[in-house]
Amino acid sequence: MRVLLSIGIGFGLVASAQTVDLLHPAADSWLTFHGDYSGRRHVDFAAITPENVGKLQQVWRFQAGQQQIKASPILANGVLYVTVPDNIWAVDAHTGKQLWHYQNPPNNAFHIGHRGAAIYKDTVYLTTPDCHLIALNAKDGMVKWDVVIADSNKGYWSTNAPLIVGNHVMVGVSGDFDNLPGQLKSVDADTGKTQWIFYSTPPLGTKRDPDSGGATGGQMWTTGTYDPALNLVFVGTGNPTPVLNGEVRPGNNPWTCSIVALNPDTGKLAWGFQASPHDTHDWDANEVPVLVDANFNGQPRKMLMQASRNGFFFVLDRTNGKSLLTTPFATVNWAKGVDSEGHPIPDPAKYPSKAGVLVAPNESGATNFRPPSFDPKTGLFIVSAQDGYGIYFFKSEHGAYGWAGADYGVAGKAFLRAIDYQTGKIVWNHPIGDGAGTAGVLTTGTGLTFSGDVGGNMMALRTSDGATLWHENIGRMGNGPISYVLDGKQYIVVGGGGSLYAYALGEAH
């Protein structure tokens, strides 16, 4: 039985629900994982500036539980929704007080994190570790419907913050420990009925496909972006399986470690671009495909940018998936170069081997799920990067199922790194500690960059040069900050440890 745990007071705040307009998000909302469809994680609010950011004060704190918040909260009609595995809370965005809490029953699927909820009209959507998609009444958390999106007994689990376009709720899953096809399912937002399934690798029960080389995997576990003019959804796909054993899956293994462009009405593939052809290092290309309209070499372009886990920064023409730029943004030693179509060329000498190879990046990657930000004014793409090394092993005894190999991180250094999108040059590089950072990035039109370091400091940097202007220790940030204007006040909200923190400028004295 799926149960509603508690209903608090405060219905009055949400009684007059406005329309949730995903195409035109209002200043007092943050409607998707990214805030809008572009994935730029950028706001143009004017209140908080480099001059006054030092006056930021904590307005409220909401303790969500013991688990690390890895989710981006969403905000609609004055209510924030924040998740950890099996749990979602509705929180009054003015006060930080709980309105309701829904908990999924205990289950034995992986509970490694959750990326957030999605909203459409008056319904909030939650994916669960055991691969249910649950539609909840945004007002009170009552279950409207509950559907299974994949078979968790086969080894699928879900951490996904769904992407909603029209009445399509697009839901991804994970599943690296079993040889499972990558699937993105579109579900009718009103009824829960399946509309289409896009498979990044051939579905179970189909014949070995010569194109994919027998690879499974390519899971779409992060939230995509959407271009309404092209009517295309852009989603990153994960690594192939078996993970480290590439011998049994010859060729490039499309569409694993790729960016795919899909028609949201049909699930049909418009184009695909492989960030890591024939991956053998677990470098999902699930990082945010950021959509930017700007000049590239003097020509106006509709672009897609991704700083990928494999250490390469890609700029594509998103109308057709053609490469405009491919360049490393972190330490990389696994590629022999870049081919004429902008794909890195894997060096077979760095495939996992019996005696082991020293590879950069390590498995956790040059970046990962933590979202980056694009600042239009400076043209900087700002990402939490890692220069790291790992050792990778594969021998035939490791088999051809699931992980099929062994790898160990050796060491890493974490940075916030600002990339000039037209050249790939690193404009500034701000050390944030040992290992890898986990905080995402938010930029503002006033020239501020919000993110966090490895040690749990939330920081505001000057976007132009990366200088620190403000910081406060709130514990590990496993997510990206968000910002909105409510009742005329600009808020910055972020999860640190198991709590959600809201900041705004202190009262004028």
């Binding site: 490694i112 950069a360 956790s364 250094k413 050390p431 040992d434 040690g455 940097l461």
Partner: protein, 300 residues
Amino acid sequence: MKHTIWMSAAALIAAGLVIAQAPPVPGNSQTQGQNKGQNKGTAKGAPRGPAQSPASRPGPQTVTPQAYPAAQIQAGELRFTSQCGFCHGRDAAGGETGPDLTRSKLVAEDTRGDKIAPVLKAGRPDQGMPSFTLSDADVNAIVAFIHDQKTKSEALGGGRRAVDASDLAVGDAQAGRRYFNGAGGCSACHSATGDLAGIATRYQGLALLQRMLYPTAGRPAPARPKVTVTLPSGQTAAGSLASEDEFAIVVLDSSGGRQTYEKTAVKFKIDDPMSAHFDQLGKYTDTDMHDVFAYLDTLK
């Protein structure tokens, strides 16, 4: 075969870039997915030679055999899979970042949770393992499941993520010695007859390789960065660096006292010997790495 790092962050930065703040931060390793657990049990006591299939080599044997009720093991499986399985594998034989627990020395030496429970409760933040808030019943169930998996794995043989000492034995110890004393620059800080004497008796196989690349714990203790602090009064304080972030340093003095200094309030100088290990990661070819490993493996 020689393979060089053809693009490094250092090179990117050298190409006319600005480094904004602070030196690299050692010691403060609350990392996720980093410094993954050492598969210490893998090679311990493993006989050498090609006659035996490496995968058939057992991990360390359970010291105190122990049995658990089926219901407890089943309850433990539910808890283990959901909370631990992603990193350690559903079968406890290794997952996305964590080691194979069925070959773990700590598990082999555990009796009814006396070693495992404290690790669950405190975590291993330096190796990316979080702490867990669990009831005693849940902890006991997880312990039961891990021991049961170890028993099953011993019966089956093998190990999904096993790296055996013989797998690593491809290097040239003589070439490794030359690299150690020459191009690698290892002898600037280390000596085969000094700090590294007998290192191959204390560490074998993967554990020795990991220690060689980037030591994080154990004997000899990895050198902590040395730090000298000059206070506004002109008074100086010296010690080793316990932790550091962009804003503060924590210094351990010789008597074990901890002192936190705001970076803006003092002058300080950090000498971090571990930075040479990190830099070396960008210099080793795989051949160098295996050669130096082969050399260290002779220091018994």
